[in-house]
């Protein structure tokens, strides 16, 4: 007989081995050498946490009690895996494109990022998983007890309870160490996945080893084993059809809905193609796991004394035959099954509890300030650790309360039925756009209530929670609410009864609730994203920035926030990016801030939708915005990235880049100007010279003479004007200008400018609100007038609309008076907006316009001297200039 101490030592060595494996895998992943850590085989093996201690020990007990019915628990998941093209592929794609972290996250995201739905799913999941966790503790404890009995001690309740407590503590330590190391947005845990893959191999080998020993060692070959089966108490094929079909369905549904299965299937999936391998490899794994179950059960029934617990045949058969090594191996298999399931299950549940319950509560108690600070990270990790311990403690508590006496399979089915209450919300949400959050919530609540009433509470035993009278006559004598005979329909198997009614009522409420209520815009958006995931999400996504959209964003923002606030917002952002003007780069952070601003006016969901529409072409899709905006994990990820990158460096680089662009453009412009200025100077000079030569020769009529003299005069005037401009500019730039301070009213200044702007025949219509223009000024009015003349003349010359119109608007911006001059032409292209105020810059080669490209440069110099400003205002539908007036003390 194996000594109990040896067994403990073996178990501890095995645990240490798992620790080392997990550490090594984490180290590998950290160094970026993930290679085979993300292979399809590891993925398939990690799915094996479906096979828990319930499978390892309980299946044999199940077979000993009910024949082949245990197979349904494996047939269902096999069909789901083989049929991955139906559901799994879509779930995995959604999981990747929406960066889903848990099944609660999936459902809450689908229904408009609804926090209450997330809470609801989390509660259902925790309630359903608690008995299952208890079951794992129980099976490990029982297997210890078997060996303890072998070495002469018979464990009482006291020893069992303390063993269960130690197992729970050990599991909590392992899970906390490896399950909360990183806060990856993708929630991948390489160390744990690796440990689970190893455990998957161990448990398969252990069960197959026991099976081979039983079939060839004890029974004497396959034929003899089949004869034994035919001679055994389970030889008759009397399987009730309802249970066969119902349990296959239940297992298939649970395979998708159990939080731990969702974790390994969807969240930890590294590559969609892995599913193709798993689609045959995982059914193969399940088949091998269940192949030897009936032989072990039959031989156990033959070999061991009547009344021994069939749930432990996997251990007791080798022990009875004196095969100690095999027994220890088998013990490690069962230990692996239990621990891997508990670890993943606790991680999945803890992620849900911390993300959907703890952190939202913490954030709302902190107000909005918490969103930007970096300490959220620490809080989430702490919340997750506490949740892991809390979930394990709940499992332990259930184990103690339930007394740990029930057959393993019964607890498993109860837990499955609870978990599948999530199925309707998940499937309907993924395949039907019409499902609403009210429908999902009512379905979940009703299904959960029915499960509680008809299966969970009665599972504590007759009279434990639900009194016998209620079981027989219904609550308050209401017959049709009897827990195991709803609507008076007696005689259905309790599990099938609960599965059928809970899912029927759940789905019914979901459907009815959905067609009677109206979804929020956000829900409709998410619904479309989920249902049409293959059309919406390319596999790889990244932020592509396009500043062409900054102007569109500004237009939208102006519509919602008002021109004033929008421009201030954009200008501030551009300034913080180190850019001049109104158009910042469209960075994720900027979009996030903008969206929050917009949400204040139109609500978060609409803001999402509106920005999404604008940004979609730039592949910044709506889901990216949503993530940036309100996914705490994403915010944290982003802020830590920002810290690492050093924002300052980025700003400087951007400013340098912009300056460089400007310089390059300018040097090209300057070359063009030199050519042009010589042309400008030469043309009048040439005509002056040739006409004066003609005049010198004499001998022409006086009218001709007068005409030629006139031409010479006009050309001289043009030359003088050009030289005046150059002189003016150089005086302004060198700061030697003397300002002639005067008091006046803006209206008069604009009047004079309009009169002087050479607006012949009214070619340019000027739209003014003279009543707004009564602004007192105290500055050099002549210079200011010069600016307006220039701007109006520019509009006349360059506005290319059919009926050119110039709108002159007086307003206030950042506490200062501004005058906006907006025409209805095609405006100035964005790449030119940066250089128009530079000297010698002209947008067209159209010399007929007559300027040398100095007008706006002069305007800017004047405004600088006057301590005002002039800027180009994008997003107004035409060329628009904003003159910020000198402030009046």
């Amino acid at each position: 007989m194996v000594s109990f101490n040896l067994l403990i030592a073996v178990a501890l060595v095995y645990v240490a081995f798992l620790f080392i494996i997990a550490f090594a895998a984490e180290r590998r992943a950290e160094r970026g050498r993930e290679g085979w850590l993300r292979s399809p085989m590891i993925y398939t093996l990690s799915l094996s946490i479906y096979c828990t201690a319930w499978t390892f020990y309980g299946a044999v007990g199940y077979a000993a009690r009910s024949g082949l019915e245990y197979l349904t628990i494996y047939l269902g998941p096999s069909l789901v895996m083989i049929g991955w093209w139906w559901i799994l592929r879509k779930l995995v794609r959604i999981g990747r494109s929406q960066r889903i972290t848990s099944i609660a996250d999936l459902i809450s995201s689908r229904f408009g990022k609804s926090t209450p739905i997330g809470v609801l799913v989390t509660l259902v999941a925790v309630a359903a998983a608690t008995p299952y966790l208890a079951l794992q503790l129980q099976s490990v404890t029982l297997s210890f007890a078997v060996f303890a009995e072998g070495s002469g001690q018979v464990w009482g309740e006291q020893e069992l309870a303390s063993a269960a407590l130690w197992v729970a503590i050990g599991l909590a330590v392992f899970t906390v160490i490896f399950g909360t190391r990183n806060l990856d947005a993708n929630e991948r845990h390489h160390g744990i996945v690796m440990a689970i893959a190893v455990e998957a191999v161990v448990k398969l080998c252990a069960l197959v080893a026991v099976g081979v020993f039983v079939v060839w060692g004890l029974a004497g070959g396959v034929g003899r084993t089949l004869d034994l089966i035919d001679a055994s108490p389970i030889s008759d094929w009397t399987q009730p059809g309802g249970r066969w079909v119902g349990l296959t369905f239940l297992a298939a549904a649970a395979f998708l809905c159990l939080p731990r299965m969702f974790q390994v299937l969807v969240v930890e999936n590294a590559d969609e193609r892995h599913m193709a391998t798993a689609s045959w490899a995982f059914p193969l794994y399940l088949m091998l796991m269940s192949l030897f179950v009936v032989p072990i059960a039959v031989v156990g029934l033959n070999l061991l004394p009547a009344g021994s617990n069939p749930d432990l045949f996997v251990l007791t058969v080798p022990l009875a035959e004196g095969r100690n090594g095999l027994a220890i191996f088998s013990f490690l298999g069962g230990f692996s099954s239990a621990t891997s399931m508990v670890i993943v299950s606790t991680i999945a549940l803890a992620t849900m509890v911390s993300n959907h319950i703890v952190v939202p509560i913490w954030l709302s108690s902190r107000g909005t300030g918490a969103m930007v600070s970096g300490d959220v990270r620490g809080v989430v990790i702490m919340a997750r650790r506490l949740s892991i311990m809390g979930v394990l403690f709940l499992g332990y508590l259930y184990y103690r309360l339930s007394g740990g006496g029930e057959a393993l399979a019964a607890i498993g089915l109860i837990s499955f039925t609870g978990a599948v209450q999530v199925l309707p919300a998940m499937l309907v949400g993924v395949f039907w756009r019409g499902a609403t959050r009210w429908g999902a919530a009512s379905g979940l609540v009703l299904g959960f209530a029915v499960w509680m009433w008809s299966l969970f509470l009665p599972s504590f035993g007759a009279d434990a929670i639900i009194p016998h009278s209620v079981m027989a006559n219904g609550p308050f004598g209401i017959e049709w609410l009897r827990p195991q005979a709803f609507f008076g329909i007696d005689g259905i198997d309790p599990v099938i009864h609960a599965v059928m009614w809970s899912l029927l009522l759940n789905t019914g409420a979901l459907f009815l609730g959905s067609i009677l209520t109206f979804p929020l815009p956000m829900e409709r958006l998410q619904g479309a994203q989920f249902v049409n995931v293959f059309e919406h999400s390319p596999n790889a996504r990244s932020w592509t920035q396009s500043s062409a959209h900054a102007e569109d964003l500004l237009i939208t923002a102006q519509r919602i926030l008002g021109a004033e606030e929008a421009q201030t917002l954009f200008q501030a952002e551009a300034r913080s990016q180190g850019k001049a003007g109104f158009l910042p780069d469209v960075t994720p952070g900027f979009v996030e801030g903008l969206e929050r601003e917009l949400a204040g006016s139109v609500g978060a969901a609409t803001a999402h939708a509106m920005l999404g529409q604008i940004l979609q072409g730039a592949s910044v899709s709506v889901e990216d915005l949503i993530k940036v905006a309100d996914e705490t994990a994403q915010i944290m990820e982003y802020s830590s990235q920002l810290e690492a990158k050093s924002a300052e460096q980025e700003r400087t680089a951007r400013a340098l880049r912009e300056a460089n662009e400007k310089l390059t453009a300018l040097s090209i412009q300057k070359d063009a100007f030199l050519g042009q200025i010589s042309h400008e100077l030469r043309t009048p000079m040439t005509s002056i010279r040739s006409f004066s030569e003609i005049l010198r020769e004499g001998g022409m009529p006086p009218t001709q003479q007068a005409k030629y003299a006139g031409i010479i005069h006009d050309e001289a005037v043009r030359l003088t004007r050009l030289l005046d401009d150059l002189l003016d500019l150089s005086v302004l730039e060198s700061g030697q200008v003397t300002l002639n301070q005067q008091d006046g009213v803006l209206r008069d200044v604009i009047d004079r400018a309009v009169d002087a702007a050479d607006n012949r025949e009214g070619a340019l219509k000027i739209d003014r609100r003279r009543s707004e223009e009564g602004v007192e000024l105290s500055t050099d009015l002549d210079r200011l007038t010069q600016v307006f003349i220039n701007l109006i003349a520019n509009a006349r010359k360059y506005c290319d609309a059919q009926q050119p119109t110039l709108r002159i608007k007086v307003g206030r911006h950042e506490g200062r008076r501004v005058v906006d001059l907006i025409d209805n032409g095609s405006g100035i292209p964005e790449d030119k907006q940066g250089v128009i105020f530079e000297k010698f810059s002209r947008l067209t080669d159209d010399r007929k316009a007559g300027g040398a490209g100095l007008g706006l440069a002069i305007c800017r110099e004047i405004m600088n001297r006057l301590e005002g400003d002039i800027t180009y205002l994008p997003g107004q539908g035409g060329a628009a200039f904003r003159v910020t007036l000198p402030s009046v003390e």
Partner: protein, 104 residues
């Protein structure tokens, strides 16, 4: 919101074959489910007399299971899951043309 392009109606021979293989992959679990349910239709009386229903059921069920795994293995080998996007344009259409440009 960008309009996603409609799935192609007519496909080249290779893409057509891929589509049908995918259909086969979708039908497989349904066939498997039906086959797994088939033993429920077996006559119970005969079993009661013969008394060896369970061993027959074991051979039948594990046989069907193995066959499903083999077929799934073959399908997983020949279906190219990387080309699984329903909106994937066949190569003869130039990239970025038509509605795709707005959809992505």
């Amino acid at each position: 919101m960008g309009r996603s392009p409609k799935p192609q109606t007519f496909l080249a021979r290779a893409s057509y074959r891929q589509r049908r293989l995918r259909d086969a992959a979708k039908v497989l679990p349904i066939v498997g489910g039906l086959l797994f349910m088939a033993p429920l239709l077996w006559p119970r009386e005969a079993v009661a007399e013969g008394g060896n229903g369970t061993s027959h059921a074991i051979l039948y069920l594990f046989g069907v299971w193995t066959a499903l795994i083999v077929v799934a293995f073959v399908l997983a080998r020949i279906i190219r899951p990387t080309e699984d996007d329903d909106i994937q344009q066949p190569p003869e259409q130039s990239p970025g043309s038509g509605p795709q440009a707005g959809g992505r």
